[in-house]
Amino acid sequence: MGMTITEKILAKHAGRDRVTPGENVWVDVDILLTHDVTGPGTISIFKKEFGEKAKIWDNDKVVVIPDHYIFTEDQHAKRNVEFLRSFAHEQDIENFYDVGTPRYKGVCHVALPEEGFARPGEVLFGTDSHTCTAGAFGEFATGIGNTDAAFILGTGKLWVKIPSTARFVFDGEMPDYLMAKDLILKIIGDIGVDGASYQAMEFAGDAVQSLNIEERMTLCNMVIEAGGKNGVIAPDDRTVEYVKARSRKAFTPVQNDTDAVFASERKYDASKLRPMVAKPHSPENAEPAENLSDVKVDQVYIGSCTGGKLTDFIAAARILNGRKTAVDTFIVPATTDVAKGLLEKKIDGKPLRTIFEEAGCRIGNATCGACLGGPDDTFGRLNGEEICVSTTNRNFPGRMGSKKSQVFLASPLTAAATAVTGKITDPRKYLA
């Protein structure tokens, strides 16, 4: 009986020939990622358990990317970054992307692959639930808490329960009005927010392989919203090319055995799907955008690790080019590289940034921003009873600020079309 990609990676990192879903194994960790919200707590636990003078297991394998509460006057938030700074200094952590320096990057899940730390076949843990994003590179990547991360800092190991793999196959051609966000919202709508609890979710099929790397990241980013442990996409030439251009390290792509056993398989025809929206207050409240055309909105937010990559802004600009926004529209690039891309990438000779400015959008700095609400002075935060269409990944009560606000999740295309009309709008309206 063969193994899946996830099983093969975990078996190798546990020093075993094979593993079976359900068993617990200790695995060796290739990369530990942390940021400003969960990093300080992790460091405190590490010091408490291993001693004030303890050294981390491998300073080359720890990546520290402050991104959450950066452009705020909140003193606690500033102190947390300072905490990371002194730890990075003390432990000689070179992979620290400090705030206020040219190295500052922004949202960790997008910055991590940009900097070459997401590699096929590896095991990545991060103190953030969306660490699963990196499954797009054919690696095992999942989120953990501070205690587990502190354990890794001291030992380089962690126990994992081997997940079974649920497979989602998208065949057919991706229509140009559809994005990865629509696919994942469709899945979560079908299986529910706990539909893949404790499982690996593998995405396959022609439509998935046709997606660029950033779109694949969007798919894997939201597996956690279905309760999944990790997302995975079999690495192909596109993956290898992307990683080779960025990583300093060699890597070995891992594929499913031909007789690998999957816990379940769902098939979709991508060419038949419609743009999807998740209504408040759960990502599983999926509904085709065209059914919600009477919902008036107050704000549109395009950003985050899910919907703030260059691909997302290119999509939004396709619609906003030459049009005006009818409601407050916030553009928040995930990373400084994406922000640079807004200046460099052009449509009809116009940089994306110019297109957004002419449309009347407000453009912010590279950070998590209002995706998780954050301190009161956060750019784009919902402070009252606003109704917002957002390209982020969660619409739980109060996720983007006020408990009274309402968030509809959508693709950047749908978000941009909505910005133009002020009502939830199927992007096909503007994509002839």
């Binding site: 617990n24 919200v37 969960t38 300080p40 707590g41 405190s44 636990i45 408490k48 358990e49 291993f50 303890a54 050294k55 509460y69 909140d74 606690h76 938030a77 102190r79 947390n80 991060g126 103190t127 953030d128 639930s129 660490t131 989120g143 953990i144 808490g145 501070n146 205690t147 587990d148 354990f151 001291g154 030992t155 126990w159 329960k161 927010v193 706990d194 609890s197 404790y198 956690i224 309760g227 442990k229 207050h281 759960s282 998780l372 609400g373 954050g374 301190p375 009161d376 969660r394 739980f396 009560p397 109060g398 996720r399 408990k403």
Partner: protein, 191 residues
């Protein structure tokens, strides 16, 4: 071993932003003064109408207080979904919670509760949150894997902790790793 106390009842899919809203994540978990704030704001993100079911509108932690009068939280399925923030089980622990009973958990919350030794995440066999009213008195019998609603007299089965029991009983991943000799080996290898 038993755990007794009054219960606070919530529904399905209580996420980590409800358990501890993101704006409060900035406090230092290791400063005694600031740590108390996690207790103060525990469950403060739950919408009012779902705060303390069946009627709602019941504060988990009273105004001006840092601890809850409820030691047991009863929820439905997928408790603790959302972010990986360990501040969630920590906030419940600081507020005084000893156990959560839910039909199922989001895995990171479950793992954090166990590995950090914050509280017991116990699974009920059935979705039992509708059989409790906030304020009811309950007794959890860990030997028998059951919870009894002393107010109504009804009892319900809980699942056994399974392979998490070793870590729960040790009090978290660090004590467990010391017990099996794993950490000691690592520390001495470093010197």
């Amino acid at each position: 071993m038993t755990i007794t106390g009054r219960v606070y009842v919530v529904g399905d899919n209580v996420d980590t932003d409800q358990i501890i809203p993101a704006r409060h994540l900035v406090y230092n978990t290791h400063s005694p003064e600031e740590r108390k704030l996690f207790g103060k704001y525990a469950m403060s993100g739950v919408p009012d109408e779902e705060s303390g079911l069946p009627n709602g509108g019941i504060k988990f932690v009273n105004e001006g207080s840092y601890e809850s009068e409820f030691y047991i939280v009863v929820g439905g399925k997928n408790f603790g979904c959302g972010s990986s923030r360990e501040h969630a089980p920590l906030a419940l622990q600081v507020a005084g919670v000893k156990a959560v009973i839910a039909q199922s958990y989001a895995r990171i919350f479950y793992r954090n509760s166990v590995d950090g030794g914050f509280l017991m995440p116990l699974e009920s066999v059935d979705n039992i949150h509708k059989s409790f009213s906030t304020g009811d008195h309950a007794v959890i019998d860990l030997g028998n894997n059951s919870i009894t609603n002393s107010t109504t007299g009804e009892s319900f089965n809980l699942r056994s902790l399974g392979d998490a029991a070793d870590i729960v009983n040790a009090g978290g991943i660090f004590s467990y790793a010391r017990k099996i000799g794993m950490i000691k080996a690592v520390v001495s290898a470093n010197v």
